[in-house]
Symmetry: C2
Subunit: 208 residues, 2 copies
């Protein structure tokens, strides 16, 4: 018998999940929370196998709560749930310890599948192909003005915290050159300064 705990602030969603899960064999709901604080408190006494966690909660962000639960109750398998299947949300959840991701439009089979998969210790991700093959993911790569090899090299060092001077020493060019590369990247990518340049770079995987 696998015990499930639901954390979501939308009563409708909670009821929906509840009725779907209770119809499935081998599963039962062991608790519900409508916000992060309530969830943490209840988890001190109830210990579910799987926790279905909404990404958007009223008090704390789902990602933060995910991190917290992972730390305090590492045995609980967390499955993120949300309305959208955004790649960025998904990878964020994975980084913070979620074992799965479900969209709210998931079918009963998908929910059962997700729970079974995470119980086996694997990651489960529900995503429909139409979404994945469309623009949003293309935009990321297509809209990117491409940086030159040298620029990427400099960018990498900037991200590591080196100053123009230190980079210049490292790649045997003058400080002016490094500075020019930095400025060109800021212009190319349409950001306002080094801080936002690095943010952009990390978010777009331009940095190792």
């Amino acid at each position: 018998m696998v015990s499930i705990f639901i954390v979501d602030d939308h009563p409708v969603v909670v009821e929906g999940l509840k009725s779907v899960i209770e119809k499935l064999e081998g599963l039962h709901i062991c608790g519900i929370a409508y916000n992060a604080v309530a969830a943490i408190n209840t988890l001190k006494t109830v210990r579910p196998d799987v926790l279905l966690l909404d990404i958007n909660l009223p008090d704390i962000s789902g990602v933060d709560l995910c991190k917290k639960i992972r730390k305090e109750f590492p045995d609980i398998k967390i499955v993120g749930i949300s309305t959208f299947s955004e790649r960025s949300y998904i990878s964020r959840m994975i980084e913070n310890g979620a074992m799965g991701y479900l969209v709210k439009s998931a079918s009963a089979e998908e929910i059962a599948d997700a729970i079974a998969t995470v119980m086996q210790g694997k990651l489960y991700m529900s995503l429909n192909i139409e979404y994945l093959l469309r623009p949003s993911s293309v935009v990321n790569s297509e809209m990117l003005p491409n940086l030159t090899k040298r620029e990427k090299e400099v960018l990498q060092y900037i991200a590591e915290g080196l100053t123009n001077n230190q980079i210049a020493d490292k790649i045997f060019v003058s400080t002016s050159t490094v500075d020019t590369h930095r400025k060109n990247m800021i212009t190319k990518l349409g950001v306002s300064n080094t801080a936002s340049l690095i943010r952009f770079a990390v978010e777009h995987g331009l940095i190792d």
Copy 2:
């Protein structure tokens, strides 16, 4: 009949995958490449359903190649393969359009499962629970000196490219205060400057 293309620079791995896949029903190998350039060239004539892509290639990084293939051949479903099941690699691959992730130690069933799953348009991730429940993921959350609410707020604005001055105006405090928060974060997180602060922050999901 699902056609598979393999990109990996280790002949042993290629042979292994080949023999495993050829024994499975409904699958066949339509091509092999030992590096990124060869892969791109061959893909101009051969059009596989699924591409198994090693993360570590001699010429370009697997992530870059993944992005490139996604852009030029959006119909091909890419499954990343690597020796390790590092969360950071996994989320990087997802961000760049991969539909799945397999460790090289995967069994024949897992490989078949992965291919079937991505063909259905879902993400497939192979990960063993022992790995996921161990330190590395705990380290991320446990080692993090926690930033205060105010610091996170300032951090967010810094990442958006605002200067101390602009942030000060926004949150109605003096520039000195914002500067102090910035310095404290740099010290707390043990980074050298704002650039590396932002890199750290984005990589650890401290920024929305």
